[in-house]
């Protein structure tokens, strides 16, 4: 993307108070990353656009945006880091592995078709060894299996009905890897009287943005924004079930990627549980819940926190009788999207995750709930527990009769 339109930064309003260091998950576990204060506004003062980047450690910023959230001075620390990361990696070049990890949407439907064979391959030790050796994808990491039919294919066989229409941005992972999240979303929305529409959509682009590939991310964004704009202009609200996709579309499309139409879309785009909370506020949420005596723990993903909507899933889940929901008081799971798959970053990812795993261990839940697929992968990997999207539990709590 054209550097002239990169957003203005705010490094000079940083008062060096160090609050961001107190929250940064990466500098907490490794001295290799100097922390948000140094890497962001600190280093920014020495950066010159026409000189080569010297920020070898910038690629270790996991992109959680917690630093932005705790800064009382309003410094866009994570944005400074992301732009610096883009410059560093543009100059240094990105390995094929990074392209592969950020373009899984291109082979998702084929992978889904061949999932019975492919999934065996993905779990195979020799295969993992090859991937680690040649692609530097860490073999300790489980690769997510594919499902058939995809969510979109399943949806085609449905006849969604309701008094009011609503559009759904489901995201790649729901489409090909966790189809039940999409099913549950549709079922809960239908139980609340909505007819679900699936506008044409591609990857939201957040994996590319995460490695500073502004151009790749913008390409995705341009496609999605025009499709979502059509939905909005035909009077629909849009909901998302993945907090990362949602955060990307709502906040990064306009500000970072300068995508036309995105600011018109954003006010009509809602986190799934934010939307359900609005229904609850208007006293029209379907709350015919049955008792669900399960002990769960809820983890709020960084990008959900960064949406600035509080913890809506927690508020809705607490309406289910019998369901125990403990909030996990830890910031960042350490997965960072594709970050945790990379061999050179796996140990950092795992170390950050250990703090979360420890907190979960103390709560002793039967299952863990989280709104982000990355967090769910990491929690499964580190705890071996059953990990679901909160909407799946909400669907289970709704009486069968109201679902049909």
């Amino acid at each position: 993307m054209n550097k002239e339109v990169w957003p203005q930064n705010h490094s000079d309003v940083c008062i060096r108070c160090a609050t961001c260091i107190a929250i940064c998950p990466v500098s907490r576990v490794t001295p290799l990353f100097p922390g948000p204060k140094q890497a962001g506004p600190g280093a920014q003062r020495f950066r010159k656009p026409d000189e080569p980047s010297t920020d070898e450690w910038i690629d270790l910023c996991i992109g959680c945006q917690l630093c932005d959230m705790v800064c009382a001075s309003g410094v866009n620390i994570s944005e400074l880091n992301l732009i610096a990361k883009a410059k560093y990696l543009d100059e240094k070049g990105r390995p094929f592995r990074d392209w592969l990890l950020t373009h899984t949407h291109l082979f998702g439907s084929i992978a889904s078709l061949f999932s019975p064979i492919l999934n065996i391959f993905l779990k195979n030790t020799a295969m993992k060894w090859l991937m680690e050796t040649f692609l530097k994808i860490d073999r300790r990491r489980e690769l997510p299996g594919y499902q058939f039919p995809t969510f979109r294919q399943w949806f085609r066989g449905q006849r969604s009905q309701g008094k009011q229409k609503i559009a759904y941005f489901y995201g790649c992972f729901t489409n090909t890897n966790e189809v039940d999240v999409g099913k549950a979303t549709v079922q809960v929305l239908e139980a609340n009287g909505f007819e679900v529409i699936l506008p044409p959509q591609r990857c939201c682009g957040i994996p590319m943005l995460g490695i500073g590939d502004f151009k790749g991310a913008r390409k995705m964004g341009l496609h999605n924004a025009s499709s979502l704009l059509n939905s909005v202009r035909s009077g629909l609200d849009i909901i998302f079930s993945s907090s990362s996709c949602g955060h990307m579309i709502r906040h990064e499309y306009g500000h970072l990627l300068n995508i036309p139409g995105s600011e018109e879309v954003a006010p009509h785009l809602f986190d799934l549980f934010e939307f359900l909370r609005n229904l609850k506020e208007s006293e029209i949420l379907n709350t015919h819940f049955k008792e669900l005596p399960i002990r769960t723990a809820y983890f709020a993903p960084c990008h959900l926190q960064s949406l600035g909507i509080g913890f809506p899933a927690l508020e809705i889940l607490r309406l289910i009788p019998g369901l125990q929901v403990d909030n996990i008081e830890v910031n960042c799971c350490g997965m960072g999207g594709t970050f945790g798959f990379k061999k050179e970053k796996y140990e950092i990812s795992e170390e950050i995750g250990k703090d979360l795993a420890e907190a979960i261990h103390q709560l002793k839940p039967e299952m863990v709930l989280s709104d982000c697929e990355g967090c769910r992968m990491q929690i499964r990997h580190l705890t071996g527990l059953k990990v679901l999207h909160p909407i799946q539990v909400l669907r289970d709590a709704l009486n069968r009769t109201t679902l049909e």
């Binding site: 160090a18 260091i21 009382a72 906040h251 500000h255």
Partner: protein, 407 residues
Amino acid sequence: MHFDIIIIGMGLSGLMAAKTAVEMGKKVLIVGKGLGTLSIFSNTIDVLGILPQTEKMRDGLSQWIKEHPGHPYSKVGSEKIDKALSSFLSLFPPPYSFQTMDETNCLVPTGAGTLRPTYLVPATMSGGVCLREGSGFMVGFRGFKDFYANQIASPFKCRGMTLSLPETLHREVTATALSRLMEKPSFRKSIAKEIKKNIKDETQIGFPAILGMNDPVEVKNDLEEQTGARVFEIPILPPSIPGMRIFNCFKAWLIRKGASFLLGPSISKTFLKGKRCEKIEILHPPIVNSYSADRYILATGRFIGGGLNADMEKIYEPLFGLPVFQPPSRQEWFQKSFFSDQPHSIHQAGVLIDSFFRPVDEKGRLLLENVWVTGTILAHHHCIHEKSREGIEIATGYMAVQKAFER
């Protein structure tokens, strides 16, 4: 969304206000642009450090209130200050509890090698209160720039040592990284071994305040067992791990009790109708969300927290545009010397309130009916000079909510 009360500001005062409202069974939203200053200033709880160590806090406060009728403490009253402090303390049951030394101020050693008076001290720091000359041994870490063991040790005629970090290759280490390392038994074992090699007949070991985020007393006890000496934490430069412990504790409690917790975006606009605040808007570009409540608490702090701003001419309150009591001209903001014995006048600037904690102008006329003001943004205190920051935050945060729901 509509709430019974919206609390603006996530520092200690806002958190105390939120706790108080939640305990009254109210529907609460707490909004914070950033973390407040707990992670910057707070380690122990100062109430009125300026009092001599011989004087009981309760007596000193009563006298102070008589002599300073405009001070925030005088608006609260000594009985309610007690209640507010008890409410704060109830969030910190043992092991990580706060205690007073005989209900008077006590002196804790600091990372600058000085002694500082304070009132409530966490269990991990109480060991430092009785530091005697020659009996302490200070431990720093190579690459940790906020604590120089030998420099801190020398005013106390003690010895110090700087440990190398086995698990780090880099030149620098942060307080959070050290704090996390401290939670690992294997790390504690290795440093205890090093310390034992170097310690002679010292009976107390002083560490920077990085003995773990989640269970610092366990870390302290384990180090004591391994070294045979009494271990204590010394408050250091920001970020303050003890301040984060306080913040985390409030946050967990509030979320558990069902308060809405909104950390990050700042309030972009308030909507007033006559003397009432109708709603607030939060801009998180490109989204604007609005929230309304029957009552609002302004707990946005002073200059660092963003509650007060200064331009070249004057100091102003940016959110509601409340008048700010301040020195008549910029020339009078500061003393000639930064380290003057007299407090800088700028620090007494702040928002004026009536006896109900509602904002008033200089003539005492009520400005807003459903907004209550609390914390260090208030006028007529010198919290730096008086060493009263946390006490004011706790007492006024508690009291403002009591007043807000009084009628």
